[in-house]
């Protein structure tokens, strides 16, 4: 066996996150084929008391931090309406607000809201119309025209936006369609999420290795030709290569895992993987580790390792560290991917690891070698 470096990051869970995710409503006006959210058909609203309770802790974290983000996500946050969302944002002080949206509800009124509240926008769009067929409303109508109307509204108001693209059939040809599309769209950054089998989405994600590597290699080639877009995945891979070539690859991972608290509409808190929110298991119980209406958020995080599933997950991280050459790049498989693919948390490689970490890095290397 080749001697590999021992990476020292990702030991245990940090006491203070870099951001929190809040779910203002479970409802989404779309019914995307790959969506993992179990309650997206129902409009369960977050009461202001949940935001107030969350803000008590978050404001203390944000005060000494250079930047602290509150992310509105999980369902379509704009389905809550601007008045309700504004009430939920009001208790937070000294934070950046981010909103991940399908863009279909964006109009001039919302744009004014974004400007007034200094909201950072992330759009979910999967490419040109023919590649966005998975995104439909509850009547089965294509969402694409409404997404583009939302983008037009953002442009009218000069609001910058990032884009998140779910890829269900990775291939070099798809990369050749996507990158020019996103250049034209005008996003400042692009994240690629290869579809994941998690939550209520049970579709097969065991894609052919050659196609996935070819997708990433082609995307890398296109990005080099015109790097106007901040291409999250490829750039992170190149960052790791840079550390391997002339830096210290052990510095890339955080020292500890970000707890990434997701506060659901009812105040329940799921740590580490937002995709576990709303799920329970006979063996592990509810994946929520507390509720901000009863326990301060910092205390919930401090007690996290006592949760059975989180303790098992931390063992899983160590298993990744011990067994995978890509650990210094990846930091260990995510909790939701392990659970929804393997039924437990101490396993190692998942389809998500293969498609979005291992083959990403190998695809970038394939490109470099070509």
């Amino acid at each position: 066996m080749t001697s590999r470096p021992r990476f020292t990051g990702m030991h245990g869970i940090a006491a203070v996150p870099s951001y929190v995710i809040l779910q203002p409503t479970t409802l989404c006006n779309l019914d995307c084929a790959y969506c993992y959210l179990p309650l997206r058909r129902y409009d369960r609203r977050m009461p202001t008391a949940v935001a107030v309770a969350t803000a008590k802790t978050v404001n203390e974290w944000a005060a000494p931090a250079d930047r602290f983000s509150v992310v509105w996500h999980g369902g379509e946050p704009m389905a809550a309406g601007p008045a309700a969302l504004g009430e939920l944002m009001a208790p937070f002080i000294g934070v950046e607000h981010h909103l991940q949206t399908n863009a279909t509800l964006i109009d001039d009124e919302w744009c004014e809201f974004f400007v007034d509240h200094d909201v950072h926008i992330g759009l979910s769009i999967d490419g040109p119309g023919g590649r966005t067929a998975n995104r439909v409303d509850w009547s089965g109508r294509a969402a694409y025209p409404r997404i583009l109307r939302g983008v037009e509204a953002l442009r009218r108001h000069g609001i910058a936006f990032a884009a998140l693209c779910v890829v269900s059939e990775p291939s070099p040809q798809l990369a050749r369609e996507l990158y020019p599309f996103f250049l034209e769209l005008g996003c400042y950054a692009l994240g690629i999420n290869i579809e994941e089998r998690e939550g209520v989405n049970t579709r097969d994600t065991a894609y052919a290795e050659e196609q996935v590597r070819g997708f990433w290699a082609e995307l890398t080639r296109l990005w080099r030709l015109d790097p106007r877009i901040e291409l999250r995945d490829v750039e992170f891979a190149v960052r790791y290569l840079a550390e391997l070539v002339h830096g210290d690859p052990d510095t890339l991972l955080p020292r500890r895992l970000d707890p990434i608290p997701t506060i659901a509409y009812d105040g329940s808190v799921v740590l580490l993987s937002p995709e576990l929110a709303g799920f329970s298991d006979a063996r592990y119980g509810d994946f929520a580790t507390g509720n901000v209406l009863h326990t301060p958020l910092d205390e919930i995080i401090t007690a996290a390792a006592r949760s059975q599933w989180i303790a098992e997950y931390l063992r899983g991280i160590e298993n990744c560290r011990d067994s995978c050459a890509y650990f210094g790049f990846c930091g260990g498989g995510h909790a939701a991917n392990r659970y929804f693919e393997h039924g437990r948390f101490d396993t190692t490689v998942t389809d998500h690891c293969r498609n979005s970490k291992i083959r990403l890095l190998e695809g970038v290397l394939d490109h470099a070698a070509s």
Binding site: M1, R4, A14, A15, V16, P17, S18, Y19, W61, A65, R67, F68, S69, V71, H73, E96, H98, A162, L164, Y188, A189, G191, N193, E209, E210, R213, T220, R224, P227, R228, I229, E230, R232, D233, E235, F236, V238, R239, L241, A242, L244, V245, H246, P254, D258, P259, I260, S323, C324, A325, Y326, H334, R354, K357, I358, L365, H367, A368, A369, S370
Partner: protein
Amino acid sequence: MQHRDAADDDLAGRVRSTAGVAVLVEEAEQTWRTRAATPGGPVAGPRPFEDAFPTFYQFSNRPQK
């Protein structure tokens, strides 16, 4: 194009010996420097890389403490 054995792979050695990696890295670092130096310029930025996607925790989240 078989997936390598993740336990046995000398990834660092392969990267360092792959022709083209050094140039790719050099170009990327130039892009990042340009972003930092030219707000509103031909490439996005300036922005700490980690802040572009706070929602998406696949990469680069850094807890405060």
